[in-house]
Symmetry: C5
Subunit: 372 residues, 5 copies
């Protein structure tokens, strides 16, 4: 049987919050990866992608091309002082940087001075075919998009390819369009995960009809849990896009609204799908429980048929196993004590009678429909 | 038993979206039909319907009669360059054209510069009496309505007939009325589908009372799934009409609002019907489960009656099958060892006693109401 | 057992809509009654009620008394040309007239140019004590109220009586008050129907405690369905009144608002009642299912008690029915083979032992509480 | 066992409404009590409480002290002409007076010309420890509060005491504060009723663990019904207070808003409590059903243990009760026919074997955990 | 097994409200602790924390440093006259002080003249590892925060530490920030409680798979109740923060909004967690019930297998225990009466036949899958 693709949720991380910490404190865990710094710079004609060893070099390159659009792409948080420098240079609020580092935030968007801070959850299959749930934190600026993520690997490569090849509008539109394109690619990755869930559900249903084992219910409930988890991510995702749709011209230019509307439609499709799965799992539970009770019924019928046929027969043969004495104590024969035993055709007649009883019973059960 | 009319939903297509594609990309599948181009032109007095071999001819005919109203009717998407020409000529946004081609969109309406883009789902019976779920994509313009659909066949023939015969207001009203008429015909086709579902539900209910087989629950759950599917299409349909109702005079003239209000009433009737079916299926599930447990009860009663009658009797006849010796080892008769066996009327008395026991039991069960 | 009063819903009619018909088409069925035309004219001092043979006479009478208030009361739709004349004379929109004729509309109100078109459902007992669900379609005008209904009989007689006798404010207030009074009388008729449902539910509950037969669940589910049906009529009824309450002075004079507020309270009371019934039916279902499982439990207990007592006893008597030979093949007596059978008090001792076993068992079951 | 405190709801009265009565008609039932008229007059320094034999005396006393605040307290409706006089003198709308007399209204507030008409339900224990559900109808005026109720007894005595003793702000604040104080006292009386319900629920839970009798489920469902009833009263109560909170300065002075806010908090606490009880009852239902099925399980286990042990033993002893003949018909001994019966240690060996079988079975059941 | 951390809710206190008390009355119970008065004063550079023996000293210290910010920290309510003095000095409304003393209020915020009154529930583990549910009542002022709580111990020590060490923005921001910091610390303490609940739920789930005892369901329902309780506290907590977020600049400075937004995100995370637990408990209930019915099924199967194998065998051996006489009463042998008993290989043949029957049965059960 296929393995259920499971989203590892950061519940543990959420529950392990240190109580009473000052807001905006950057508590980076010891095993966080050291940051790698990438800069993708482009305009209509020009394209360049570079990795920098130090933040200063990156800043210089970024500052040196104010007329281009830039994607500053930071992977790994393992350097608090770097993060603090960036907070100052890019005017990031400490609470927002805390949200970046505590990478278990719900999808959300915050707006201030026409700049957006957007949190998305990247649900994508790892090369090991497991589901990874990473956070993409995104800040928009007049001519740049600044992203943070915890791993070196992500699911944005198709986008990088598109920028490089200059396909589509991405090189011509304002930097907000780049942010849109990222969110869109992230959302696109939900569909294969959904497809996997769907196939798993179908396999469960097939199992249910073939060999309804005891473990099945627990598998159905696992699937349900997974569905609920993804539902909990997609709904705020939808709300986030809806909030972006209702923002003013200055924050999100009107010409881009239609793109976010399109993305909103995708989110709704995802919600439709996930609701479908939710109902499927509850149908499966119903079917499973009904199967269990059907099998109980069947067991009971076998027991009842066997008992009902043989218990009366056992009585009859017991009857003629009794030892009533034919000898009259006063001498002579006692003709009333079990005379059947002394008939020449007694045994044969009894066998025939019992055959009749059995036939009658079988016919009765047949009529009741218990034999099918 | 009748076959459940099943709406084939485009879940597969939705899940097979290519990840990371640029927005507005027209990915037409290889088996898409080559487009056929129809133009229906009419005004109060004049009516003409033509099919064109090339798009240029159609455009010429359309441009040549600016004072008439037109229905440009494109069936099949198998020609991307044609679609791109139309995008340019009719000012269609790439994302909207993408929605046209990816024909698994939810019902929706989009408005820009007083032009509407409306997506509807055509649920109609095929000649093979199966349910077809196609998409009708519709753009309104000042003097035309432009529609796209994937198949050559559709459910709009009654409307074509009405335009031809000049019945009703259709030849006199603005082109927005033509759009309304299309949506109305599409919505009308939901009713026969609902009627079918209703009959199927009634048949299931009859079955439930006649011979509640094991497969019934799975059929009930299938029906439920079908009901949920259609519900998922009708609700956004309702929202769509509601959105049209709240649009401004420039987009939807006030005099047409009453027509959309009428259509809204139809959508609500459909929702009432589908909610009815939803409750029916849940009643059916309850009835089915109660039937199963009633039958279990009946089986148990038969077992109990038979066992309760014969087990004590078997004990009695077993009792008199014991071999306690009457002969006193010291010689003489042992009068305490099973003297009943030596009574002249012992056997007959026992038979009578057993008949009494049976009668008592039967009376007890009768009083309990187990024999009915 | 009392019969459940059932509302015959026009589901069939809704589902039989002809697909693709032009909006506003009056499709009157062949068995529609020919219209009868009544005119009730009155003011503070004056009152007259007349039936007219032709529409022209009615129109003349109506036109001839412009200072009075009028109730034009049309019963039966079986004359399309008459309906078309009235549409023209009273400025009725074709779609509204279609709603009048297709008399399966949900309760609703439409307003245009300060004139209201109101649809109500008349739920009332027929003389045969069945529930009738007719449609009352009502148009208000400056000095008249125009009503349509399909049958010659209706539930408005108490109102006619009130107009005739001049009781209450009805002869002094504007014609909108007449419309209110009609709606109020119609709503009043829901209460007896609710009372019937309530009595039926109580009877079902009594049955459940007396003799829970198999058909009961299906009756409970029928009741539930009936409750849901009426709920579907009352909720839009409430919404309709609420909409009237929020209308402007010109459509509904402020002094009449308090009357509609009162009616709104009645609608809420009806909703409270129907919600009560809904919960009652779900309680009944719970009770029924618990009853079924209690009875199963009881059956099982009887079986278990009988089996548990007699199966060990049967073993014991079987034991002493064995034929182990006392005769040593080498001659003499084999003292180890069933010596109990040869004890002088063997049989009596065994009987005593068995009595002891039975007593022990009975005591055990008594302690378990299985004997109560 | 304690008796469930039951709110007698006026469902009967609601359902017995006479159909088609004119709105505002005062239909006082024959057994209504004759009104008693009380007047409480007070200001900062002055306090007087009087009962009047006639309405004219009361009116005179009331008119004679225009600078004081008054509580006109009418108990009993059995005098229609008196009610009609008051309608005229206090400008009460006929529909509101009808609501006063038909004392089964939901809690509500109506405002006109800055005067409030408030309906509350007084749920209080009678001296016989039953729950009484009376209606308190309250009209506010510039310097008075006018209340109506059907019984001579009510739950406002603590308030009368407070006015008399001059405790709190009641003698200094405007008359609207007096109205608030009444509503507050009425709401306070819900808490003891809730406490009773809570204790009843706890007792039910204890019963469930001790001796889960058949009647328990029906008691749990009764409790649920009671909880639902009170919920139906408290929710509109909350809405009523909320509506008062949102009224304008002229109707409810701003300085009093904080008092109503406090009352609103109490209503929310009541709703929290009642929701608690609702969940408790559904937990109880779950526990009851699980108990029933646990007991069934136990019964089944006893049956199975006994049957499984003795049925094989019975077979064995039956086996050696067979009468296969050792005598060869051709003379001599037939050594193959049941030679065990002729072994000297045959019987003892068999007993040992059977003991072994029993031990094995018991061990098996012990391992399965069926014996605990 | 771990003990479920239980929130002791003040239901008893709520239900014991004295009926009819005047609003704003301070009814302090006899066992209330005598107040201890603390003052924490600080600004950018300066920090001092003192406990005062009398209120006058505290007031003097507070008044003497108008340019600093202060946290007036009152623990224990056992002194009504002190509370009344504070009401006067700090302009606290009697109803609000009543809410402070009746410390079972839902989380809420009230605003008047740009001053906030905030009620929070402190859910924190006591040193005995039990969950304590205390109320923190908080008043904000221009340069102070005034808090009340019933116990000497609380969960704000981490905050005191932060003020003392001057970490973070707390010494530089306005006093409203201090209030925020308190609320934030209080909310932070919910997370460990949630973690405990989560571990308890996991342990329950493990138990369910190992040894599903009878008490388990009751434990699951206890957990559910606990989850519902905390849910009832967190939801109004969320609403409270939301209300603060929507307040005007004068009450909550704009620069602090982002902090409350952060807190709001935490509240949403808590709600997500608690909803997770809610679904977990309902899954557990499903699993438990399915386990119970699976075990019943297993019991039934054992019974059926044993019965079905041995009942027919018992019949057969009973058959050959019959005593049909071979002696013809007329002399000679009666060859038809049980000739099998006289065959030389009769017994062996029968044993073989019975072995065959058993094998057949076992094979049948194996095919049915009942033996696994």
């Amino acid at each position: 049987m296929r393995i259920l693709p499971t989203v590892k949720q950061p519940t543990k991380k959420i529950l392990d919050r240190k109580v009473g910490q000052k807001p905006g404190h950057l508590s980076v865990s010891a095993d966080a990866l050291p940051p790698r710094l990438f800069l993708v710079s482009f305009d209509d004609e020009y394209y360049e992608t570079r990795e920098f060893a130090t933040y200063d070099e990156l800043l210089q390159a970024f500052m040196g091309a104010p007329e281009a659009r830039h994607w500053i792409d930071v992977r790994g948080y393992g350097n608090v002082s770097l993060l603090e420098c960036m907070m100052k240079d890019f005017h990031i609020h400490p609470l927002q940087m805390e949200d970046v580092v505590n990478d278990y935030q719900r999808p959300k968007v915050e707006e201030e001075h026409n700049r957006l801070f957007i949190v998305s959850r990247m649900i994508a299959f790892t090369p090991q075919h497991e589901l990874d749930d990473d956070q993409l934190s995104l800040f928009t600026g007049p001519n740049y998009v600044l992203t943070f993520q915890s791993d070196y690997e992500d699911c944005l490569d198709p986008l990088r390819e598109r920028i490089k090849s200059g396909k589509g509008a991405i090189r011509k539109k304002p930097s907000m369009y780049l942010a849109y394109a990222m969110l869109d690619v992230v959302l696109d990755h939900y569909f294969p995960a959904m497809a996997q869930l769907g196939e798993y559900a179908e396999e469960l249903e097939d199992c249910l009809f073939e060999s309804p084992s005891k473990q099945l219910l627990s598998k159905i409930l696992d699937l349900k849990r997974e569905v609920v988890k993804i539902r909990r991510i997609i709904w705020p995702e939808r709300d986030k896009i809806n909030e972006i749709l209702r923002m003013e011209e200055n924050s999100v230019p009107h010409e881009l609204k239609i793109y976010f509307k399109d993305m909103y439609d995708h989110a709704i499709q995802l919600i439709d799908l996930i609701d479908n799965y939710k109902e499927t799992t509850s149908s499966l539970t119903d079917l499973y429980l009904s199967n269990v009770s059907n099998r109980m019924n069947e067991v009971m019928k076998v027991l009842t048929i066997i008992s009902t046929i043989f218990i009366p027969l056992s009585f009859i043969v017991g009857l003629y196993g009794m030892n009533f004495s034919r000898e009259n104590p006063k001498g002579g024969i006692n003709p009333l004590n079990m005379p059947e035993l002394y008939q020449p055709y007694g045994y044969v007649t009894l066998l025939g009678f019992m055959a009749l009883v059995v036939s009658g019973m079988v016919y009765y059960f047949y009529r009741k429909g218990w034999l099918s």
